[in-house]
């Protein structure tokens, strides 16, 4: 030992060793507690996300129910029905009418593209997006139409091969996070014939640059076809987009042509392939499998018939009666469909697709319904083994779940999850990753995390950020169920003391909110506990309330409207087929009645009408529903800002 020793003299003695031990011990304890808090925050985000997905599926049930009972729509607007049940695509004439009339003004400073596209187009676009420019609707539409034509030629599954000089890069969910995609391109190079990529779905929603990501991916696909594989994810679905932000992003960036863009996108999404197979050994699909997944069948279904995975399929015989009004999968009586039953997928085919887009792997053997999300299933290692053997495959790569390290291997190495949106829930919540597959199936994993600063902040700062963010959205959930929670607490509070035990409180919270969270550990953030360990349950609601748009409105009503904000917004958008932003009082009234009936709410009609009128909305008998819904938001008393608007989409 001698060379390279520093000039620092360390006194080695029993005393120093003990001191070092103390500091190390303390630090490790502190660090562990930070990591745990981080993990709790992620659990909160994830539970709420999945609960929302369940809500989304419940909403699609409501659509069926609504169409059966909502007489006005059927008479006035048969196109609405077709829109929801997926028919009538735009043909070539539609394209001319759509795009041909758009002119790009001289004042447009965004990127200008030449057709046919070349690799320079891709560079020009990427540079422009880095400067936060918006691509003109004309180019967007041209690219979308081209993409649709090209995708129609693709089979349901992309097939791609590695070779000694080409590694294939596989990316997972991007969810509109452009910085992550750009980071991947910086580290790993742009797509090209020499640098093939597979993008495994969920390109859109939640992040702010979904349309830009789509443009980059679609242009790359048009340029490098066989070497740029795109798989459909569960978010490539217009109903999901209405709830999770993509629809809003398009309409706000493209105020004039946004609706046309969304319409063409619906079809492009439906034409996206369902998966990719590398070297006949590695299967890449967005969600997972179920015990009944039939790869053969999936190779042959007409995938473009599935506009939204969330809309139930039509029965083969469209004249089936509707005694079973609330059953999924039956068309409302008397609704005229354009086209014949063969224009739709069968129920079995539909289930096959929902399974591969929505399922999650778990350690428990067997296959059982995915109760968190409400769609697809949980599949165990035995299901994986059986499936891979049957189809002579070695590995399943999927995405769909956010992982703290960006990727996760499970089922004995047979299933890998790859997730490419770092900081998905919040700054510091998780890393992103991508996988490179080389010749002879060897795999390399790469991780990254986008950060605004030049270096990552200290751990405790990052943990504080995501923890407070998670607690905040949890509190918003709590306040939206205040009435039911109080009811549950009071049932357990025999002595009417205002206090219940920790166990009782945790039970109520879990039951009413339907979230499987570590309530005892979280209690210190949510309620006050006395020295006997009992919970003063009303303190749950102390520093947060829903802003009442009208003083006299009843709290329970406000709470309900707040809780169902997202659903109502989607429903209104769907009903509003002329996209005027307005619906009549009559429509609002009938829709509200149906909503209450289906969701089992006990709110008097008159209360809602009164509220709508009181809010001084357009006095001409129509309601600007976006304004109506914006009026319900949560105030966090402890905020520095006076008002804080919550964004649920």
């Amino acid at each position: 030992m001698g060379c390279g020793s520093s000039s620092i003299k360390i006194r080695k003695s029993a005393k120093t060793i003990r001191a070092a031990l103390i500091i190390q011990n303390w630090y490790r304890g502190y660090r562990a507690r930070l990591k745990t808090r981080q993990r709790y925050a992620l659990t909160i985000f994830q539970s709420i996300e999945y609960a929302d997905e369940q809500g989304q599926l419940q909403l699609s049930n409501f659509f069926s129910f609504m169409l059966e009972n909502y007489v006005h729509i059927q008479e006035k607007d048969p196109t609405l029905v077709n829109r929801l049940f997926g028919c009538a695509p735009l043909d070539d004439r539609g394209r001319q009418e759509c795009v041909g009339i758009i002119e790009i003004p001289d004042s447009y400073i965004g990127p200008r593209l030449q057709f046919p596209l070349n690799s320079n187009s891709l560079n020009v676009m990427i540079e422009a997006f880095k400067q936060q420019q918006i691509l003109h609707a004309y180019y967007v539409l041209e690219i979308l139409f081209e993409t649709k034509e090209a995708m129609k030629q693709m089979p349901n599954f992309n097939h791609i091969r590695t070779c000694p000089t080409k590694e294939i890069t596989i990316c997972g969910d991007l969810h509109g996070k452009l910085e992550d995609l750009l980071l991947i391109f910086t580290k790993n190079g742009l797509p090209s014939g020499y640098n093939p990529y597979v993008f495994n779905g969920d390109f859109v929603d939640r992040g702010k640059c979904s349309i830009e990501i789509l443009m980059i991916l679609f242009v790359s696909f048009l340029l490098y076809g066989d070497d740029l594989c795109l798989n459909r994810g569960n978010h490539e679905d217009f109903l999901m987009n209405m709830r999770y932000g993509f629809t809003k992003e398009v309409l706000s960036k493209y105020k004039i042509h946004g609706k046309k863009i969304l319409q063409v996108l619906e079809e492009v999404f439906a034409w996206l392939p369902l998966g990719t197979i590398i070297d006949d050994e590695i299967l890449i699909m967005h969600g997972g499998i179920s015990e009944s997944t039939d790869l053969n069948l999936l190779h042959h279904i007409e995938r473009n018939k599935m506009k939204s995975v969330l809309m139930p399929p039509v029965p083969v015989d469209k004249d089936v009666g509707t005694e079973t009004k609330k059953t999924k999968g039956y068309m409302p009586r008397g609704v005229k469909l354009s086209g014949s039953p063969s224009d739709y997928l069968t129920k079995h085919e539909w289930e096959q697709v929902i399974d591969i887009l929505w399922s999650d792997p778990r350690g428990k053997r067997g296959c059982y319904p995915n109760t968190s999300r409400g769609g697809g299933c949980y599949f165990g290692p035995d299901v994986t083994t059986k499936f891979l053997n049957k189809n002579r495959l070695k590995l399943l790569i999927r995405s769909h779940e956010c992982k703290p390290e960006g990727y996760e291997v499970c089922h004995d190495g047979k299933v890998i999850t790859v997730f490419s949106a770092s900081n998905y829930y919040e700054e510091g919540s998780n890393r992103g990753a991508y996988i490179k597959v080389g010749f002879s199936t060897n795999l390399r994993f790469f991780q990254y995390q986008v950060t605004k600063a030049t270096c990552l902040g200290p751990l405790h700062q990052r943990v504080n950020t995501i923890e407070s963010s998670a607690i905040r959205i949890l509190k918003e959930r709590i306040i939206s169920r205040k009435t039911d929670l109080i009811h549950s607490f009071q049932l357990q509070d025999r002595t009417k003391s205002g206090k219940i035990s920790m166990g009782q409180w945790a039970f109520s919270m879990e039951n009413v909110l339907g979230l499987n969270l570590p309530w005892r550990s979280l209690s210190s953030h949510l309620v006050l506990t006395d020295q006997d360990g009992n919970i003063d349950y009303m303190t749950c609601f102390h520093d947060i309330h829903i802003q009442k748009p009208v003083k006299e409105a009843q709290s329970a009503l406000i709470e309900t409207l707040y809780r169902y904000r997202s659903d109502l917004q989607i429903i209104f958008n769907v009903i509003d087929s002329d996209h005027s932003g307005l619906i009549s009082m009559e429509e609002f009234h009938s829709m509200w009645k149906l909503f209450c009936s289906h969701y089992n709410l006990h709110i008097g009609d008159s209360q809602v009408d009164e509220l709508a009128e009181r809010m001084d909305l357009n006095k001409d008998g129509s309601i600007d529903f976006n304004e109506f819904l914006k009026a319900f938001y949560v105030v966090h008393q402890l905020d520095n800002l006076h008002k804080s608007k919550t964004q649920l989409a």
């Binding site: 001191a19 190390q24 490790r28 996760e408 166990g503 309530w519």
Partner: protein
Amino acid sequence: MADEKEKETSELLVADMQRKIKEAFEVFDHELNNTVDVREIGTIIRSLGCCPNEGELHDLLAEVEEEEPTGYIRFEKFLPVMTNILLERRYRPIPEEVLLRAFEVLDPTKRGYLSKEELIKYMTEEGEPFSQEEMEEMLSAAIGPESNFIHYRDYITMMVIDEN
């Protein structure tokens, strides 16, 4: 009878304690099959407020592992061991003053700070040495990117406030 009531209370306490252990365990149970990766056990135990050192942790692992270690720890084996630890109040956390005095031992001339190199040397070469990741994390919290000194009194105070 007072005895019975006491017994009931302590049973309730144990039950509550065990539910808390379960919660801490479940958060790391990714596969939802009542097992966690053995590498997370240290984090779980520490998250419940205990501070075993690495050597003690190693011994604990031996108690909860399977006879033929699988890389996973089952909840059924973990629960009784952890319950005892909490009931016996083992591995109590280090009081602030003890921590401060430890820093002072490493700073015998009482400057009030340690240099970055000194801290790194002590933490990575003495006692139960830090991994590179642990060292980097501690440094990022203790000093700014430009500075080279850790003013340990302030550091400790900041950490303690953060924990509470």
